[in-house]
Symmetry: D2
Subunit: 278 residues, 4 copies
């Protein structure tokens, strides 16, 4: 499936400010960037780098006083691996690749140590495998209200668990937290999401099952195979679309994701869809 | 029913220290102190006062360097009001006595604001009344493990809600928190508890229903009509059995509660039992 | 000194809703309400009660669907007790009136247990007395930024201590917390504050020193003898100007405080000013 | 300088349990493992792997019911880079290597977002460079009590900041948190520490300054050039010496670090000592 995605971001900078962006579609696995275009106004030099560890692509630039605007657009081809959910097992900790182990650790927004007892009580007796993570997503969807204005950038999954309200990032954090508590590596994924309403950057998560990372979206707000991965990391702290070292005023962000030529939803959020093994 | 209760408490005091104790059986309502004895060694003068607001009885004394020991024993007659649970309604906020309103407010260990959404989701649709508070206790008993060493003096009901483990004080805090979130005044009660194993000070809670305060024990560890009330307040912060302004070493505490003459359990923890309207 | 104070509050009520207001000037001690007027539109019956414990005055009413508006205005005479700050001592815990002891306990927004070590390190060696509480206020004024939008209704003094930003209510909570940690009873006071800019309900605190409650304002935003006390309690949880049991939309609030006839500031915020012993 | 380090760890395993250890001395940069010996009793097969990202060395094994014991010992040569503290600058964010950026993000125990304002108020105006991080360590040493029993595995740097007490891991977390809040990459390092009293695993931190990672120990309990690095990561969540997936009983741990042949302290805790650029 092919998607046209992109965003426009603007700032009014008060004085020399370094900005780091993570808005470009990731490359690798089942995700190919066919073409892309990046425009920075005024014509500033942006350093482009890809993390060898996460695959996240970063743009770093230092903007002088004044207005700075980014426009990014890309054509992205997604070739998903799809498996029968029933056939996907959890890898025992004894068999997990070393690189996945950090994604078992608690992180800023995913204090899996604090919710371990609940996770075990609620999900511990379920048969290990893909269906267990689906059940986690079902539980979140059922028990947490999707509500703007109830959380902020300090909100952890333990807070969301108590508050029972949040937005996509909080839903992802809670899913990750439960997975880790159960011994399933899980990580945060920021993405462009086709048919998300209203259009914005979206947040989902990946759990490591069998021998690859499968996508999960506890919000159930968009199709899994319509998500173009931007950044992945331990939680939202690792995948900010913009990190700003200085004082700026933000202009409204515009984000889009389109599927040219009469696309249709192939994989809804309980299907097993994967883009990567690493 | 008649109970013999008491305790022995000892400290080694490093230098002049003021101690405030709240260990004496409360007087009033259905609880009568038939006789009691207090021994303080060495022969220190203790000031005895009863709070007009809470009815809590305080002993305040200043101990010099050395060992100080208290022994308190009392014969207490309990004459409970018992009602049919089904007949007990919640008073609407519009009708609540003014004195009960502070017990709707969040407090140190009972942040009812933080668990309001969950309380409403879980218990909000249940028919108001005694049975709803019983359901809250059932839920706590079912979903929280009674485990020593999982909580400490900083643990709030929101912590307990996440951790899913605690002791009697945590169970009471969680019950109070849910009640307040639903608009039911609720308060913390420290007590001597007959047949509690092992014997120790116990913590339960009271909810204001109809026109009086009913006892609830989410731990289900002792009979409701075997509880001799010591202190009541917003939460454990108000009912410490000893508050110490100085440096001391504590000796092991001994607490007892006996029912002379072949007593039997009359009211198990889902019955409606009340000792007071105030 | 005489003040004209008042407020206008309005709501659009979705369905039958009970509202409890605490907006009327308190009576007693050095504060006399010379005259007052309360208008409720439409002509609803409001129950008026005064707490024997706190002296807070409550209006309780149940509003039907539609718009409800309150207008309160009062002429208030304040006759302060003023003492030389140097002459005011702290009462040792052994001598504190029983009624002040609850104001040593940690509360929802004033977790004095959590900041006890810092309070002792920072203020413990200062000579006990009025000047020590002044020093607490100085420290807060110096170390915490007064900034709207940095705190909300869940923010505790421990949060404010870490964040180093807040508004009047947070400043008061932090002052109270430090006092309690040092063994000084302290309580939250909501008030009308003359010359506060912009006009709004204000929050300060009282510490019990010698044999009475002295006013302190760590924000230093208004004169101490221009404050007309509305509510007092353990923290902001006890003194909400409006508590609403139902769904409403709020209209903007208007608050005023005027000193007719060329008043002047008598007691700036480091003077010792008291209105009450209870 | 050469050190003999090692540890003995033992568990009684209740049933098949996977254990992951991170106790081996790291290799690379200025740290060379001259020889080492690992004994596992009974003779279990342990998988040994080194993280390409962090350099941490992991032992993973699955133990059956019964007793399992590890004994690790190593001879390690440390060849430090030493620089004049005055000459070491902070790298601006615009120049930081991409790999260091994750160490600017808040993590489970280092919520740098929550202490940003304080860090800026307290340390923001100091000249950037090595001396600023030394000043952070001085502040921690001065303002936080080193006390066992005041913190646990859930304690964050924000907690420690409020509590003003903790142990080495808490001191390291607080130092890391302040650095990140100021834009200085910082990470947690577990180590064997020569002359640490009593001997145990130790926790310090590294800050990225100039073009390398410098060691800092806010506890000031051991010489910087006597530390043999074991694990590094975002915080203690990444460097547990043992992670256990099952139920075990722990035997007492024994840890040692010796400097054969009359070593002497070369670098005390305000010197600039580095073992690695990555």
């Amino acid at each position: 499936m092919r998607f046209s995605v992109g965003c426009e971001i603007g700032y009014e900078v008060a004085q020399d400010t370094t900005l780091i962006f993570n808005i470009q579609a990731m490359r690798g696995g089942g995700q190919r960037v066919l073409s892309e275009e990046l425009t920075i106004t005024p014509g500033l030099v942006a350093e482009e780098k890809t993390s060898s560890e996460s695959g996240n692509r970063y743009l770093r630039l230092t903007a002088p006083k004044g207005v700075v605007e980014l426009r990014y657009s890309a054509e992205v081809q997604l070739d998903h691996i799809r498996h029968e959910p029933e056939a996907i097992r959890e890898a025992p900790v004894a068999k997990l690749p070393l690189e996945t182990l950090p994604f078992l650790n608690p992180s800023r927004y995913c204090p899996s140590d604090q919710l371990a007892r609940f996770a075990d009580r609620q999900f511990g007796a379920l048969p290990p495998g893909f269906a267990r993570v689906t059940e986690i997503c079902n539980w979140i969807r059922e028990e947490v209200d999707y509500l703007f204005g109830t959380s902020d950038t300090t909100t952890t999954a333990a807070d969301t668990f108590s508050l029972r309200a949040g937005v996509c990032r909080d839903f992802a954090h809670l899913g990750i937290t439960f997975c880790r508590a159960l011994g399933i590596p899980a990580r945060f994924v920021s993405c462009y999401a086709w048919q998300l309403e209203p259009q914005d950057f979206h947040a989902v998560f990946e759990a490591y099952l069998g021998d690859r990372w499968y996508l999960f979206d506890a919000t159930r707000m968009a199709a899994l195979d319509g998500m173009v991965r931007i950044g992945c990391g331990r939680d939202a702290a690792d995948t900010a679309f913009a990190t700003i070292y200085g004082q700026v005023m933000s202009a409204p962000i515009r984000v889009w994701s389109e599927a040219p030529g009469g696309s249709r939803i192939d994989a809804w959020t309980t299907d097993a869809v994967s883009l990567t093994t690493t």
